[in-house]
């Protein structure tokens, strides 16, 4: 075999090898491109469904499981509420029912500021609650207890429910209060809010053209024990300035608050 033939064979062999390597390179590049598209696709889907949302926290957030006990109210607590008819309710004495001697007029639109002075001056631990929701159906306004600057969402052992009577006046309230808040575990990174939004979207909880108007991290009851409860970090998404949706910030499960399931500790 002469040198020229050997050269030709080498050139052809390397050409084939080059074509093969180029093919492999293109395949890998396409795969990477596809992965990138997949990652981006959820935000694209939200855009396609015209779902908007406020700025999301970008830095990783850490939180932990907590435990707490419902406060047992006593005569000493009642005595602090001078001049207000108070009844301690429930077999475990965990609810204060207070009737206002002078009903408190609120506006039809209601702004939380309308109740802040009353809360601070007339309600036990009033500074430990923040506005939660107003229910036209139940004619009530609910304040959630806060702990470490974060709210305890819809916690039946940590809330104040103001009852609205005739003439848009607050006539009474029921108060529960959680105490002995303790850390059960070390801090761990929680789910990013976008991941929680993805869960809500996948489960059909976010309708197209929805607008997530507020995002807030708090805690909700995970486990209700006989005399205490375990609280898990929870994302709250306010949709269109009205409805609130909740997602467990560790496990990503949607939380459906149900008064029967999360029965009150007494």
């Amino acid at each position: 075999m002469d040198w020229s033939k050997i050269k030709t064979i080498f050139i052809i062999t390397f050409l084939i090898l080059d074509v093969y390597l180029l093919y492999q390179f293109m395949k890998i590049r396409d795969a990477n491109k596809y992965e990138f598209i997949t990652e981006a696709s959820f935000e694209e889907k939200l855009k396609a469904d015209e779902i908007k949302y406020v700025d999301l926290p970008k830095d990783p957030i850490q939180a932990q499981y907590l435990s707490a006990k419902p406060k047992v109210f006593n005569q000493e607590d009642v005595d602090k509420l001078k001049g207000q008819p108070v009844v301690i309710r429930g077999t475990g004495s965990t609810t204060l029912h207070v009737t206002l001697e002078k009903p408190l007029k609120i506006t039809a639109k209601f702004e939380p500021a309308e109740l802040s002075t009353f809360l601070n001056d007339n309600v036990l631990f009033g500074e430990d609650y923040q506005f939660g929701e107003k229910s036209e159906k139940d004619q009530s306004i609910t304040y959630f207890q806060i702990s470490g600057n974060v709210p305890l969402f819809k916690n039946i052992n940590g809330m104040i429910t103001f009852k609205i009577g005739e003439g848009n006046q607050i006539v009474s309230y029921d108060q529960t209060y959680l105490v002995e808040m303790e850390k059960l575990t070390d801090k761990e990174e929680i789910l990013k809010p976008l991941k929680a939004i993805e869960t809500l979207h996948q489960k059909g909880m976010l309708k197209s053209k929805s607008n997530i108007t507020a995002i807030e991290l708090g805690y909700s009851t995970l486990i209700q024990l006989a005399a205490s409860q375990v609280l898990a970090p929870t994302w709250r998404f306010e949709v269109d300035g009205k409805e609130s949706l909740f997602v467990n910030a560790f496990e990503g499960q949607i939380i459906q608050f149900n008064s029967d399931e999360k029965s009150k500790v007494e």
Binding site: Y65, E182, A226
Partner: protein, 264 residues
């Protein structure tokens, strides 16, 4: 003359219990590699080669991983019931026939002053069984890996001095958790594991005036927490009129760290 014990490790990653009298020492399950088992024995300052026998509860890997290695390396007798022997044969490898002993369910074997009694549990294994150690009127019970605690089991384990009792999961955490549904269903079934609450209800039926210590064992890493298990068990027992801390105490176990060697 006393009986002492150390829960070398407890959890879904591996289980092992060490028990000793003045004349004999025993290991129940060896759910870790040979090296890890040697390290656990090192932590309680005991010698594996001096064991009188290894007692197997069932063939799941978190209970038998180190059985074959330890039996071959230290020439230790291994005790299991016939069905468990058949089920674990391929996993533990060849063990010389003279080291293989059959210990059937609901029978008693005596080693000097220690009587070891086996009893059946409800778990998805060939023939799962656990053990009660009797010594000088004292009683130590090991019961994990059971979907429920039957009246028959309660009869066998009642009024022990020490319980090492499964408190596997919190039902709500398991339901909320990431496990696939078939695994959740298996854990919650009658041949799965007992929850904190069910464990406490069973405990309330079996603790007696002799009971001093209850160890909460085989806790799920994903669906339970040490403090939660303790709270749930304590509160359920209190609801049933049993005050923890008065007559008996509730203690933790750990998936990696042995409990201190303690006399029954």
């Amino acid at each position: 003359m006393s009986l002492s014990y150390s829960i070398l490790a407890s959890g879904s990653t591996g289980n092992a219990l060490y028990v000793e009298s003045d004349e004999h020492s025993f290991l129940v399950d060896a759910g870790f590699s040979g090296k890890q088992m040697e390290a656990l024995f090192g932590q309680i300052d005991r010698d594996i080669s001096k064991l009188s026998g290894i007692f197997v509860t069932h063939e799941h890997s978190d209970h038998i991983k180190g059985i074959g290695v330890l039996a071959r390396k230290y020439h230790l007798p291994v005790y299991a019931n016939e069905k468990t022997w058949r089920a674990m044969e391929s996993s533990v490898g060849a063990i010389p026939t003279e080291q293989k002993f059959v210990f059937n369910m609901e029978t008693v074997k005596s080693f000097g002053s220690v009587d070891i009694e086996s009893f059946g549990v409800s778990h998805d294994a060939a023939e799962p069984m656990f053990y009660v150690f009797h010594h000088s009127g004292k009683k130590l019970v090991l019961i994990t890996d059971t979907g429920y605690v039957s009246d028959r089991m309660k009869g066998t384990i009642s009024n022990a001095d020490v319980y090492i009792f499964e408190s596997n999961h919190d039902v709500q955490m398991l339901r909320m958790g990431r496990y696939p549904w078939n695994i959740k269903r298996r854990i919650l079934s009658d041949v799965g594991h007992v929850s904190n609450e069910d464990a406490a209800l069973a405990m309330s039926d079996v603790v007696g005036d002799q009971t001093k210590r209850i160890y909460l064992a085989h806790l799920s890493m994903d669906n339970n927490m040490k403090d939660l298990a303790k709270m749930a068990v304590t509160q359920t027992l209190q609801e049933r009129g049993l005050i923890v801390g008065e007559q008996f105490g509730i203690y933790d176990t750990d998936p990696k760290i042995p409990t201190a060697l303690t006399a029954v």
